[in-house]
Symmetry: C2
Subunit: 346 residues, 2 copies
Amino acid sequence: SRSINLAVIPGDGIGQEVVAEGLKVLSAVLPQDVKLETEEYDFGARRYHATGETLTDADLDALKRHDAILLGAIGDPSVPSGVLERGFLLKLRFAFDHHVNLRPSKLLPGVATPLAGEPEIDFVVVREGTEGPYTGNGGTIRKGTEHEVATEVSVNTAFGVERVVRDAFARAQARPRKKLALIHKNNVLTFAGHLWTNIFNKVAEEFPEVTTEYMHVDAATIYLVTQPERFDVIVTDNLFGDIVTDLAAAVSGGIGVAASGNINPSGDFPSMFEPVHGSAPDIAGQGKADPTATVLSVALLLRHLGYEAEAARIDDAVTADLSERTGKPARSTSEIGDALAVRVAG
Amino acid sequence: SRSINLAVIPGDGIGQEVVAEGLKVLSAVLPQDVKLETEEYDFGARRYHATGETLTDADLDALKRHDAILLGAIGDPSVPSGVLERGFLLKLRFAFDHHVNLRPSKLLPGVATPLAGEPEIDFVVVREGTEGPYTGNGGTIRKGTEHEVATEVSVNTAFGVERVVRDAFARAQARPRKKLALIHKNNVLTFAGHLWTNIFNKVAEEFPEVTTEYMHVDAATIYLVTQPERFDVIVTDNLFGDIVTDLAAAVSGGIGVAASGNINPSGDFPSMFEPVHGSAPDIAGQGKADPTATVLSVALLLRHLGYEAEAARIDDAVTADLSERTGKPARSTSEIGDALAVRVAG
Ligand SMILES: CC(C)[C@H](C(=O)O)[C@@H](O)C(=O)O
Ligand SMILES: CC(C)[C@H](C(=O)O)[C@@H](O)C(=O)O
């Protein structure tokens, strides 16, 4: 009989609340014969304050034994900026080699967008997750003096770029429009830019059906607000991907509905699924957070584990729920989760 | 008697056309007693193809003798990506220490924006121009092989960050709302991020009237489309500034009206003024380009040289021209320039 052994990391702020709804919907959608086991981990600000730890080797060993990881959100104003981001979130993405950071953007009917008109938005960003300016390479000399110098080194390898570019081409090939855009800044960051561009052009030869284009990251932000329908699949580096996926989320319904997967396609390590939004400490504990992004992340998780029909049921439930929101009073976090659980079970 | 000795670099694509209109408006706005001398330079793709040169030491010596530089656009598909950008544009910005890259965004009445509703947009970005990931530091090993590694090094110094942060605070102090936002990614790029954040907080103490906030670059892209009225002055690094100013231009009327100044406040070297848009080779030579961004760059140039009244006359002329565009047939590049010249002279 089938089973899913899930690591659950509620994290900080609204993480706890949204993850509870994600699990509610997960339980509701799974067929009877699938055994769901979950183990909760207490990573985040509280553990850091109590123990000084963010993510130990023992933690990584424990997490490694799961089929997948569901994360709420990590981050709290009581912890200095960077400590949990670098010490937990990025450490985990790097340790488990989550090189495909998958972030779909779809403007669903009835959902508000800051853009005028009725743009059609349905694309997916494949963000590289283990290289680029996120490696933590760099340093500081003469810290705190007027002669301080701080460097950040973006590291890009043929190995790392090619695998994510190939993944993006395969995704583009599988979609009806078969379009792939590379976003970089190859006219300024010429070393990394040429590596990305050359590998992109080389892999393109293996995918003759895929239409490709190259776009500088600055121009891409313009297209994302003026012609978002232009995009089908986007592949880009870790930092540019961070930036364009937040903008993409903003124009396609807000970060309340933006899901993401930190995927290791090899399966050597469990992949991690999380909403794009942060821990939103200002509204934590009030039942105000929208759990939709987490629920959609659960759909990505199911799809990754091979439960395509169940993932599609969640996507459909979210689409239906969102399309009926206009003009209705706001619901609480758990009311939205309940409604989605009913829909996926029905 | 007063005089302006201007270096004019039309450049590539639409550069020639828009610069001609910029000069037309400049001549029309200047009082009789100001002697305008211009010298044209042939930098860009044509010169590169003819001589292999982008910008020589002799060129820099010649440019140095001018009071300011007006640039159209540089770049052509016939030249490999990066050659003219790094070899001319960035070389000039770095050689003349253009550390304050000033980019105002104002949504003028009657101007179309991709955003819904009627957002109020009136802010200015102070982008650092001589450091960060733009230094060209980095390199490539094992080029073209499956073991290629390409690095890009972002270099940030206390000296470089403090002077631009101080400039931004002074600008914020001089504006009615007195607000300044620092945009960075200090939770991931912790070395550079802490340098920027610490200096920002230190300089803030000298400007108690200025209200400050910090924002990650990814979050900033969200606010730029959901709450652009939130911004007054923004200070940020070279790469983040490149990205957010294109997005800012897109939401506040498009790159057809986005002006910029590459300023050396010390006056040791001439400052350079240019539209944010590129050379747009697809519409070059057709009289279709909107010269407004160049004309507004001329206003920034005049303001920099102390001709505040004349700069204001140009701004007013552009405001009036833009507010009367809706529903009218499109005009050619020179028709728009003529109309603006008439307005500023009147
Ligand atoms: C919290 C931060 C480290 C993270 C990132 O930059 O990747 C976040 O912005 C994201 O996009 O998942
Ligand atoms: C052409 C390019 C080098 C330049 C930059 O990145 O600074 C342009 O995008 C700009 O914003 O002026």
